[in-house]
């Protein structure tokens, strides 16, 4: 127990039950800090539960039960951290907790079964989970709600069994069990009558892939509100599709205007894009720090948070920018003091492929157990372009660009250059000697590259470790299975010993 990293034997906290034995002692200062943030998160959640609509929602919707494990979720993503990394993690995850509470609050406010605020519901435009939100930057009087995020996406990260019930429901109704669990869970939730019925209209998108598109088509029968299918090109790197993408954006904007009676507000759009560009500038600084010998904002401290502000925030919420500034400040402080992210840095890694939703804390395990620094992940390596802040015609192309290049889509689709060539380019830029290759069993998008990745990693002398997972279904490949693949490689090929032997093999199948 103590101030130094790896002073606590973290594997001993797992004892086969749902929760850990206790929380860490990280030295007086860091433990006090973590305790105060724990109190703050409970305060946010208690305040959320005091609203009658939210309390009703808690009893009405099965997915709300997952949120009982939120403090455990935060603990998992701060496991073993000290100093600036601990503070960066809390800045991000605590803000996510607050933001999700607000999103759910809006859902329940509009829901006839809970808040019943019909006037508010008429100002809600429901967005698909895996789509960018920048179109709504031009509708300041409307509220965008990504319905599936608090209902399916977030519960699957908070609890490893968070959406299994919905997947099983979908399969009971005839959906094959080898499809992607994300649209399967969304569909199962719709079948099980567990989505709040809100909003004046909806926009669905073919991102990440056709699985989403097909699932949405069936779900739309449940929601019974006018729905626009935003079909963005898959081959997003080709010049020939850009105008088509922009045309789709125009059609979507026209649809929202017709359904809501609102007019797209260009001044507000450009104001939001200015905020978005400022966030992009700071993210670029984080990437530059990660290329140095003392990276600071890495692994978990990029992944989920980047999803949140890039996709959902979209520049509309200036609190993300303020948070980013504080995180950047902490990053520079850590860099100047030459703070290390692991007690011993043995490998620098790029994480490629799509992460397992039920094990988003996997990068932290890599750091704590094997001294592998997860410098950056594929889902965070989205667009770092600066978008127009004053040209309307360019803005349509910009929005199309963002929609085509949403988090999960921009590299899993779009061709060889973004899925394969760019990996090696990033390995060179980040001076990575290792690639942790997530392989989602149920995804066909990147499966075709498997042999190419192996061959090219060998040519470049880069250690390539495959980590197979089931995206939202740990029954297909458990957290332990994922760790086992890294352990085998580290032992058999690199013949290394773990920094924390208790983390090499421990029982967490039953854990939240």
């Amino acid at each position: 127990m103590g101030k130094k990293m790896n002073s606590e034997k973290l594997g001993n906290f797992y004892y086969g039950n749902k929760t850990k034995k206790r929380r860490e002692w990280r030295g007086a200062a860091d433990t006090w800090y973590d305790y105060t943030r724990w109190l703050a998160n409970w305060k946010v959640m208690a305040k959320f539960m005091m609203k009658p609509a939210n309390l009703k929602g808690f009893f009405r919707y099965r997915w709300m039960g997952s949120y009982l494990a939120v403090p455990d979720f935060v603990d998992r993503h701060t496991e073993g951290l000290r100093g600036p990394q601990l503070r960066i993690a809390h800045k991000e995850f605590d803000f996510i907790v607050e933001h999700v509470c607000e999103t759910i609050g809006n859902l329940f406010r509009a829901d006839p079964a809970c808040g019943g605020d019909e006037e508010f519901s008429r100002r809600v435009v429901v967005f698909d989970e895996n789509m960018m939100s920048q179109i709504m930057n031009g509708f300041p009087n409307l509220q965008m709600v990504c319905r599936e995020i608090p209902v399916v996406y977030t519960p699957s990260t908070v609890l490893q069994e968070g959406v299994l019930h919905y997947i099983d429901v979908a399969e009971e109704f005839g959906l094959p069990s080898d499809v992607c669990p994300m649209p399967a869970a969304e569909l199962g939730c719709a079948i099980d009558d567990d989505f709040p019925q809100i909003g004046i209209c909806a926009v669905n998108c073919n991102t990440t892939c056709d699985g989403s598109l097909m699932g949405n088509g069936v779900e739309a029968r449940r929601f019974n509100i006018p729905t626009f299918q935003l079909a963005v090109p898959i081959r997003h790197m080709q010049e020939s599709v850009q105008e088509y993408g922009a045309e789709e954006i125009k059609n979507c904007i026209k649809f929202i205007e017709e359904q809501t009676g609102e007019t797209f507000d260009w001044d507000h759009y450009f104001k939001c894009m200015k905020t978005f560009n400022a966030e992009t500038k700071l993210f670029r600084e984080w990437l530059e720090l990660s290329k140095t010998d003392y990276p600071q904002i890495i692994g978990n401290n990029v992944a989920l948070y980047r999803d949140a502000y890039y996709q959902v925030g979209g520049g509309r919420d200036a609190r993300f920018l303020q948070n980013d500034r504080e995180i950047t400040e902490l990053g520079y402080q850590g860099y100047e003091k030459k703070v290390l992210c692991a007690s011993e840095v043995r490998h620098r890694a790029v994480l490629w492929g799509v992460q397992a939703q039920y094990y988003t804390a996997f990068p932290i395990w890599l750091q704590n157990c094997w001294g592998i620094l997860p410098l950056i992940d594929m889902l965070s390596l989205t667009s770092t372009s600066y978008y127009s802040e004053d040209d309307k015609e360019q803005a349509y192309l910009d929005m199309a660009d963002l929609y085509m290049k949403m988090n999960m889509r921009n590299r899993s689709n779009g061709g060889y250059e973004v899925g394969v060539d760019d990996l090696w380019r990033f390995c060179e830029e980040f001076r990575a000697d290792m690639v942790i290759m997530y392989e989602h069993i149920g995804c066909k998008a990147m499966a075709g590259y498997h042999g190419i990745f192996e061959e090219q990693a060998r040519e470049r002398g880069i250690h390539l470790i495959w980590v197979t997972h089931g995206l939202m279904d740990p029954r297909k490949a458990s957290r332990k299975d994922m760790r086992g693949e890294v352990n085998r490689y580290m032992r058999a090929v690199l013949q290394e010993e773990p920094l924390d032997p208790t983390l090499e093999d421990f029982a967490d199948d039953n854990n939240w």
Binding site: K18, K21, R22, F58, F59, P71, D72
Partner: protein, 55 residues
């Protein structure tokens, strides 16, 4: 004056007790251990709820 001192003393003891209790809950992860039982209960509530199950 004595009464005010008495009130302050009681408040300080109260805060100290709350702090100690919250610290014990935090360090021994008692909030999450309690949540396990609450989740089991809520799952039963969700199972009992009538649903309009259909495609």
């Amino acid at each position: 004056m004595d009464k005010i001192k008495q009130i302050i003393k009681v408040m300080l003891i109260g805060f100290a007790a709350l702090f100690l209790l919250s610290w014990i809950i935090y360090f021994f992860n008692l909030d999450m251990k309690a949540s396990v039982y609450l989740k089991k209960l809520m799952d039963k509530v969700y199972d009992m709820r009538k649903r309009d199950r259909r495609l």
